[in-house]
Subunit: 98 residues, 2 copies
C-alpha cells in the first residue's frame, strides 16, 4: 500500500468509523439492489431526520454513497469502487494462516 | 448489524483510520505468516522508532494486533477475528449489482 493509497483509504475509513454511519452503510448495502430510500433509513433509526441526513451527507461527501432524487425521495446507493480498497485490505486477513 | 456490533466495529475502524496505521496493518498482513518484526517495520518508514511504536500500540490496544516478544525483538501479528466483522461489511459491497 502506497502513502497515497493510505491517505485515500484512511479518509474513507474515518467517514465510516461511526456507529450510526456503519449501520446506515450496512443497511443500504443489504437493501434490494444495494440502494435505499432515505424514508426507509429514517424509519429504521430512533434518531431525528436531520441527524440521519447529516450522517448520510458525511458518507456522500467522503465518496462512499451516491445519491439520486426520484420524485419526493432521495435514494442512496453504495459506491463499490470506494469500498474495494478497504475490502482488499481486510480480505487479506482471512487468507493468513492462523 | 446491531447497535452493539456497530459500536465494536467503529472502534476498530477508528484505530485503523490513519495513513501510517493502515500501512503498518497492510505491511504486517502481507508479511510471511501474517507476522512482522518491529525491526522490519521501523526500517520501512521514514518515521522515528517511538512514532512507529505509538501507532503499533494503538493497533494492539484496539485488538487488531497480537504482540509477542522473542529474543530482542517484538513481533506483531494481525488478529483475523478482529478484522472479520469489517471484512464482512465491505465484502458485501462487491456483491451488489452495479
Amino acid at each position: 500500500m502506497t502513502a497515497d493509497q493510505a491517505e485515500q483509504v484512511s479518509g474513507l475509513l474515518k467517514a465510516i468509523a461511526d456507529p450510526v454511519r456503519l449501520r446506515l452503510m450496512s443497511m443500504i448495502l443489504s437493501h434490494q439492489g444495494g440502494e435505499a430510500c432515505v424514508c426507509d433509513l429514517n424509519d429504521a433509526f430512533d434518531l431525528s431526520q436531520p441527524t440521519i441526513s447529516h450522517h448520510l451527507k458525511v458518507l456522500h461527501q467522503a465518496g462512499l454513497l451516491d445519491r439520486e432524487k426520484r420524485g419526493t425521495w432521495v435514494y442512496y446507493k453504495a459506491k463499490p469502487e470506494a469500498l474495494s480498497a478497504m475490502n482488499t485490505l481486510f480480505a487479506t486477513a482471512g487468507r493468513q494462516p492462523s
